[in-house]
């Protein structure tokens, strides 16, 4: 049971990163369907950084601090770059968000799989496969007293720093959105950019910041996946459709980052629950994997039928804003 909760949370953390990032983006009125691609680039960014570093110094002389900082920075830079592409096209050039987002996903997954598959050849390194266990171990470093606290310690304190970062980021995002002036402005931009503009809010700046910060957060989800969950072993398409699950989680948590923490654990549990039901056939597992999506649809329908203001998607979600179009 303790194992189950732990693994559910570890499964949920990448989704939580993705969902928090996407919530920030959507709150600014931009439906970023590039999230799956951004998470892939975030992951491969970490892999590239770690791979080059490990190969440069050799496995014996890895400096723990650098082993974490280099992949982290590479991951952030790459996902920020993806966010900037999306922003420039949709905010500055007012391109269609759905098309841009889907193209970004194609692009990002392409980058991930391309470098994942060709990094060894490109860098001319003499290793059979990308195996970053050394770096992964630093990422997976746990609090030393975790195992001495019994069940509570196992469930609460046994994760790597990125997992706690995910929860803290989600809580901070929830706080910023709900309680601060910045959050109020951001929500205003997402609900009605024309009104926000008239109130003197710099719409473009808010959209850029929200989307780019959102991308970086989502990219960290990819980094967590590869360095923590996957033990630093890259496999093409290994990340699967978790990016879309993160988008689903946004709806499930009704655009609230704090609810998405619990939501991510539920989704994580649904992802692995089939391993814990005895005598479950392979085919029934497929049906269980459908649950997160079905639940999301149900939430989406109920939310729209009840029509409560605070649970709706941002009013101008998906619409470009051009000042003269009023």
């Amino acid at each position: 049971m303790i194992m189950f909760i732990q693994r559910a949370i570890i499964q949920g953390i990448p989704l939580l990163f993705g969902a928090t990032g996407e919530i920030l983006t959507e709150k600014s009125g931009h439906l970023n369907l590039g999230i799956p691609g951004i998470m892939y680039t975030g992951a491969i960014g970490g892999v590239i950084g770690a791979f080059l570093y490990e190969n440069a110094v050799g496995p014996e002389n890895i400096n723990p601090a650098l082993a974490i900082i280099i992949p982290l920075l590479c991951s952030i830079v790459l996902s920020l770059f993806m966010g900037l592409i999306y922003c420039f096209l949709t905010v500055t050039l007012r391109a269609n968000q759905n098309v841009t987002g889907l193209a970004l996903t194609t692009f990002g997954v392409g980058i991930g799989n391309f470098f994942g598959g060709s990094l060894i050849k490109l860098s001319g390194a003499d290793v059979p496969s990308i195996n970053l266990t050394a770096t992964s171990n630093y990422f997976k470093a746990k609090l030393p007293f975790a195992s001495s606290l019994g069940a509570v310690g196992e469930i609460v304190f046994s994760y790597s720093f990125l997992a706690y970062a995910a929860i803290i980021i989600a809580l901070v995002a929830a706080f910023v959105l709900k309680k601060t002036r910045t959050g109020l402005h951001l929500r205003a931009v997402g609900e009605n950019p024309a009104t926000a503009d008239a109130a003197g809010i710099n719409v473009g700046k808010y959209k850029y910041c929200a989307t780019c910060i959102g991308s970086v957060i989502a990219g960290l989800g990819g980094l967590f996946y590869i360095m923590d969950y996957a033990y630093g072993v890259w496999s093409n398409n290994g990340f699967g459709d978790r990016g879309w699950l993160a988008v689903a989680l946004v709806i499930f948590s009704m655009w609230k980052p704090d609810i998405s923490i619990i939501g991510s654990f539920i989704f994580g549990a649904l992802l692995i629950v089939q391993n814990y039901i005895p005598n479950l056939s392979m085919s029934a597992q497929e049906l269980i994997k459908m649950l997160p999506y079905v639940v999301t649809i149900v939430v989406l329908v109920i939310v729209s039928m009840r029509n409560k203001k605070e649970n709706q998607p941002p009013a101008s979600l998906g619409l470009p804003y051009f000042r003269e179009d009023r």
């Binding site: 050039l93 098309v99 392409g110 391309f114 060709s118 988008v247 689903a248 392979m282 049906l287």
Partner: protein
């Protein structure tokens, strides 16, 4: 409103009338050329290969042999029919990104009929049941989000996106349930010996029937959208739902009817993929084409006839880049990177068609 000194911005952006067709075309061509140059530079940096060689390999990979030409045509046709299928919905500003699921479920229905009725009913009857069930399945998958959109304005982008994965997992379930041999995790080629329910080759060409069907549907939808009352209603609902209501169009009915049509054609696409190409069903039967089709449709400005060109370009890139990957021992995903770059440029170029940048001091208008 505050004490900051007011500064005139260096330039501002304003809308402009759409330029003449050759200018619009020219802007897009420039965008594609810039994209290819950038893609070439990226190729050079990543692989240190001569980009010209890379592009030549690409062309050879796409159309080098007769077999490759036909494979390219079939791929284009399949992408085209899905793009055409989602177009009525998109013209209505109903963001149906659920084509992947609608195609899959149509293909699944086809496969079920082939499995369960193949050899038990006369071939013409079998084909009729296959087509009807594929259409019905696709239409149902399109109807569900449309119904909730019409009834309570549920966000259709997110709804249709989720429906994709419901379809994928549903197929995952049945593929495992019915796998041949048991436990292999795949259905395998259906009716391999009898070829029951396979679209027959015509003149030695396995894909000719597919291509003809797709061409007919493309033309039919072009006429439907541009020359019929329904097409007009779709356009009005897309422009302004309030206007549509004002002139007495039943918006809910149009939404549901259009999505039924959209889903039904996706169902046919699924039928063609299963009966005319793969002869099996897997989770990957649609292979991401449901998403790629959105870009194809959008690049063609939702004009079905232009989609023939855009679908061809995308497929050409993918086939060609696949060849690069094998030739230079690189990863297949290279194609996706190049496709992404080109779409970014074309998407971005639209700005210079709809807007102009006016510089303040010189008063010179830069209408790119």
């Amino acid at each position: 409103m505050n004490s900051k000194t007011h500064k005139d911005p260096l330039f501002h952006i304003s809308r402009k009338d759409p330029p003449v067709w050759w200018k619009r075309f020219g802007i897009r061509i420039i965008a594609v050329i810039l994209a290819l140059v950038l893609a070439g530079i990226v190729t050079l940096l990543l692989t240190k290969l001569n980009p010209i060689d890379v592009y030549l390999t690409m062309i050879d990979g796409a159309v080098g042999t007769k077999r490759r030409v036909w494979a390219l045509i079939q791929k284009t046709a399949m992408l085209l029919i899905i793009a055409v299928a989602i177009t009525p919905a998109f013209r209505m500003r109903f963001w149906n990104i659920g084509a992947e699921g609608q195609v899959l479920i149509g293909g699944f229905a086809t496969a079920v009929v082939m499995l369960k009725l193949g050899g038990k009913v006369p071939t013409p009857v079998l084909f009729i049941i296959m087509v009807v069930s594929a259409i019905a399945a696709g239409a149902v998958w399109g109807f569900i989000p449309a119904f909730f959109k019409a009834k309570s304005n549920t966000n259709e982008t997110l709804f249709t996106l989720m429906m994709n994965y419901v379809a994928i997992q549903l197929i995952g379930y049945f593929v495992l349930e019915w796998s041949v041999p048991k436990g292999s995790g795949q259905i395998g080629i259906i009716n391999q010996k009898t070829q029951e329910g396979w679209i027959p080759s015509v003149g030695g060409n396995a894909y000719l029937v597919n291509v003809i069907v797709v061409a007919a549907i493309t033309i039919a939808i072009a006429i439907y959208l541009n020359r019929t009352k329904h097409g007009y209603e779709i356009a009005v609902v897309g422009d302004s739902q309030n206007t549509a209501r004002y002139i007495g169009i039943d918006v809910k009915k149009v939404i549901i009817r259009t999505m039924l049509l959209s889903g039904a054609i996706c169902g046919i696409a699924g039928f063609l993929l299963v009966s005319g190409q793969d002869h099996t069903i897997t989770k990957d039967t649609a292979g991401g084409n449901g998403f790629t089709a959105i870009m194809v449709a959008w690049l063609a400005k939702f004009n079905p006839l232009w989609m023939i060109l855009t679908a061809f370009i995308i497929c050409f890139l993918q086939k060609g880049a696949g060849e690069i990957a094998t030739m230079f021992n690189l990863n297949l995903a290279f194609a996706d990177i190049i496709t992404g770059i080109i779409i970014f440029f074309i998407v971005g170029s639209e700005f210079f068609i709809d807007y102009k940048i006016v510089f303040r001091k010189s008063g010179k208008e830069v209408a790119a």
